[in-house]
């Protein structure tokens, strides 16, 4: 029951905006589309002044952002009006709030005096509890993400990436909770959030 898929020109630029910068291969991976097809769309966007760059790294220009802003309401009108999408997004937001608190707890340990100090990961019990909370939230996220993937199959790649990050966390690779240099849970979740906000025309509850 796939209901909403936009055209490749719009999607390529949208995915580029979500990732902020990237190669046709990276954008193709987000979209689940062929690299060559994406490369052609991005090159066309460069010709229209909507993107800048070439070959390996493209970026959306301000004109491209404006164009996306104009196109979004119409391109995702169906999705925006779909109560299922709205319901799934509400769930996503409720999980998001807890997940953000979890990221802080992971990085900053409440100290004896109440002040938080960077987590030096010397307390395995503390870390385990957070990994367990992450597991519970990850399981809770499966439903809304499954719903999104039914509405638009390309969103299924986010679930796979989140599974990958969670799996590495379970295996003891702690950098995959909030690490900035890897496809950590935080990295993927932030990207997914940005993607959903743009498609659904929503604002973040708090400043990013």
């Amino acid at each position: 029951m796939v209901r909403y898929v936009g055209d490749i020109d719009l999607l390529s630029l949208h995915a580029l905006a979500v990732r902020k910068a990237g190669s046709p291969a990276a954008v193709g991976a987000v979209l689940g589309r062929d690299e060559d097809e994406v490369a052609r769309a991005l090159e066309a966007a460069v010709a229209n002044g909507r993107a800048a760059g070439a070959n390996e790294t493209f970026m959306v220009t301000p004109a491209g952002q404006a164009w996306l802003g104009e196109r979004y309401p119409e391109a995702f009108a169906g999705l925006r009006a779909d109560p299922e999408a709205t319901a799934a997004y509400e769930r996503f937001e409720s999980i998001n709030r807890e997940l953000l608190a979890l990221f802080t707890d992971w990085q900053m340990v409440p100290g004896p005096g109440g002040e938080r100090a960077p987590n030096d990961h010397s307390d395995a019990g503390y870390d385990e509890k957070i990994v367990d909370r992450l597991g519970a939230l990850h399981e809770r996220a499966e439903k809304p993400l499954g719903r999104f993937a039914q509405l638009d199959p390309r969103l299924g790649t986010y679930w796979e990436r989140l599974e990958g990050a969670y799996d590495r966390v379970l295996a003891g690779e702690h950098d995959y909770v909030t690490g900035a240099r890897v496809d950590s849970y935080h990295t993927v979740w932030f990207e997914l959030h940005e993607d959903l906000l743009r498609m659904l025309g929503r604002e973040r509850e708090t400043a990013p």
Binding site: S94, F103, G113, D120, K143, T178, F190, E191
Partner: protein
């Protein structure tokens, strides 16, 4: 067939069951009891019962249930209360207790035995109907989510009103959680056998809100901020359980307990002393006083500030509780780095110009030229501070290149906060509209500990080991124990960074390659020597001396070497 008595372990201090039988939490309760300490009555269903549950295809056998009822009868006798009895209500907590802790296990259900009648009784006994109501509410929510698996995003389903039905369901949930998806995935990753299981601990709840001589609190056996050998803690008169931990109420210092209930206070301090001796480390003890009677709920090794880590390690060694090597090992490289981190002079705030204040997001001090975007941060050759309205994934490369980060918007969970902490870049977030443009091009100093941004590059002060209580002793011991000398220079050395064997970003060179290169060397120098990999290579190659780089504290190198040496000798990997 096994007798009922063998299928339940009464925790009353008469026996000392192993962790293989009653799990870690059960063992911890038994240990407190064996020291003669007051612990609320409890019993355990041993791990074997979990195996039986799974062997029967996820069914709670009649004999297991008989064992639960036998344990409960004993609990009722010892507490003088009964489950579901409004005249003398007993409420229990139910916990999982594995020999190995792992994610996915059901953790705790509190206040089991709560019904409408018991709520009314509790309101009468405590004189606090609001407390009784919220306890009931919390139980229903916890039960619904933990036991019935209700999605928090959906309405709360019905919870059984018969306390025995509640108990049966929670026991099944604890056993069942052994084969939860998360627990299975964890065991697969770590090669933990599938034929283990978890015990169930059922313990009487005690109440800190029954009358004037009641309350709840936390005792640290030493001051967790300074490490001073004096008890420290919180006391919340009339408070119940999680009120202290959750921080929703403002507790009083421990001295208030001494004044209010001197007997309970003295017994608590004595209990802390016993537990500290038993465990050989500072303890963090949760306790409740119910109508003047002290109960210990939990004890564990206390978290402490880096300064306290140094001081308590040295004090414990000097008191003879641990040896010097153990003392050195108790202070991690990260803790030492934080103790020795260069800081702004105390009077910086008075003498320097404050250009912005915001939420401290990642602690530490950093200075540089303020730049407004990531490209500039990467292009600028000198130290830079990235100043942005907000940050997003496109800024990560700029944040890596910058020394510090300042944002106009967002709080402690913002993208900038999460990422700078992951990268260890001092940051202040949410300094207010328009400041990014205003600050760009200026020299700044970011104090990510205080949440202040100063104009100019402020000099930082090095911390002398003598200024940190205990550090001089600790370093002297490390030097004695260490087979490697840490020096400022050497006539001849292998310079690992110059040979391309340095730390690049987060990447360290392969240990085998390092060891190979260092074999036969008389001294070595390099960024990698501050890491575990580098220290192990030095030890494996038998290098007699390492030479510190500028900015590489000798203390850090020394401590790392001794710690890795101890781990290698004990066969611990990583």
């Amino acid at each position: 067939m096994t007798a009922v008595a063998d299928r339940v372990v009464v925790l009353d201090g008469s026996t000392s069951p192993s962790r293989e039988v009653v799990g870690n939490k059960g063992r911890s309760i038994a240990r407190m009891l064996s020291l003669g300490l007051p612990v609320p009555p409890a019993f355990a269903l041993p791990i074997d019962e979990c195996r039986r549950y799974h062997a029967a295809g996820g069914e709670l056998g009649d004999e297991t249930w008989e064992a639960v009822l036998a344990g409960l009868r004993d609990l009722e006798e010892r507490s003088g209360r009964r489950l579901g009895d409004p005249a003398r209500p007993l409420l229990v907590s139910v916990r999982s207790s594995g020999a190995v802790s792992m994610p996915g296990m059901m953790d705790t259900v509190l206040n089991l035995g709560m019904t409408a009648e018991v709520e009314a009784a509790l309101a009468r006994l405590s004189g606090d109907p609001e407390f009784a109501g919220s306890t009931h509410e919390r139980f229903v929510e916890e039960f619904a989510h933990t036991v019935l698996g209700a999605d928090p995003d959906e309405p709360t389903p019905d919870v059984p009103s018969d306390p025995l039905d509640q108990l049966r369901a929670v026991v099944q949930t604890v056993f069942g959680s052994w084969s939860s998806r998360r627990a299975k995935a964890y065991r697969r990753h770590w090669g933990i056998p599938e034929d283990g299981g978890t015990a169930v601990i059922v313990q009487a709840m005690v109440f800190g809100n029954l009358g004037e001589d009641s309350g709840t609190g936390v005792l640290f056996t030493r001051d967790p901020l300074t490490g001073a050998a004096e008890p420290y803690g919180d006391w919340l008169p009339g408070g119940q359980g999680e009120d202290v931990v959750s921080g929703t109420h403002d507790p009083l210092p421990l001295g208030a307990l001494r004044e209010q209930l001197p007997d309970a206070h003295d017994r608590l301090i004595e209990a802390g002393r016993l537990l500290e001796r038993e465990h050989g480390d500072v303890q963090d003890v949760e306790f409740t006083v119910e109508r003047g009677s002290l109960y210990l709920l939990q004890t564990r090794v206390a978290k402490r500030s880096p300064h306290a880590a140094v001081r308590t390690a040295v004090d414990f060694a000097e008191e003879g509780a641990i040896d010097r090597r153990e003392a050195v090992r108790r202070v991690s490289a990260e803790q030492l780095a934080r103790v020795l981190a260069p800081r702004l002079p105390e009077d910086a705030a008075e003498s320097a110009e404050v250009v912005a204040r915001g939420t401290p997001a990642c602690p530490g001090v950093a200075s540089g030229l303020a730049v407004g975007d990531s490209d500039a941060a990467e292009a600028e050759p000198g130290d830079v501070v990235l100043v942005r309205p907000t940050t997003s994934p496109e800024d990560v490369s700029g944040m890596i290149a910058a020394r510090g980060v300042v944002t106009e918007h967002g709080g402690s969970t913002s993208h900038a906060a999460v990422v700078t902490r992951a990268l260890g870049r001092p940051s202040v977030v949410g300094v207010g509209d328009g400041l990014a443009a205003e600050l760009a091009g200026r020299e700044l100093t970011v104090d990510g500990t205080a949440g202040v941004v100063y104009a100019g590059r402020l000099p930082t002060e090095e911390v002398e080991p003598g200024a940190v209580p205990g550090l001089t002793e600790l370093l002297a011991w490390a030097e004695e124990l260490c087979p490697v000398t840490v020096a400022d220079s050497a006539p001849e050395l292998v310079d690992l960074d110059a040979e391309g064997l340095g730390v690049e970003g987060d990447e360290t060179p392969d240990r085998a390659a390092l060891t190979e290169r260092l074999r036969g060397a008389t001294a070595a120098r390099g960024s990698v020597l501050a890491t575990a990999e580098g220290a192990r290579a030095v030890l494996a190659a038998g290098v007699p001396a390492v030479v510190r780089l500028p900015g590489q504290p000798a203390a850090a190198l020394l401590l790392r070497l001794v710690q890795e040496m101890s781990d290698v000798e004990e066969g611990r990997n990583q």
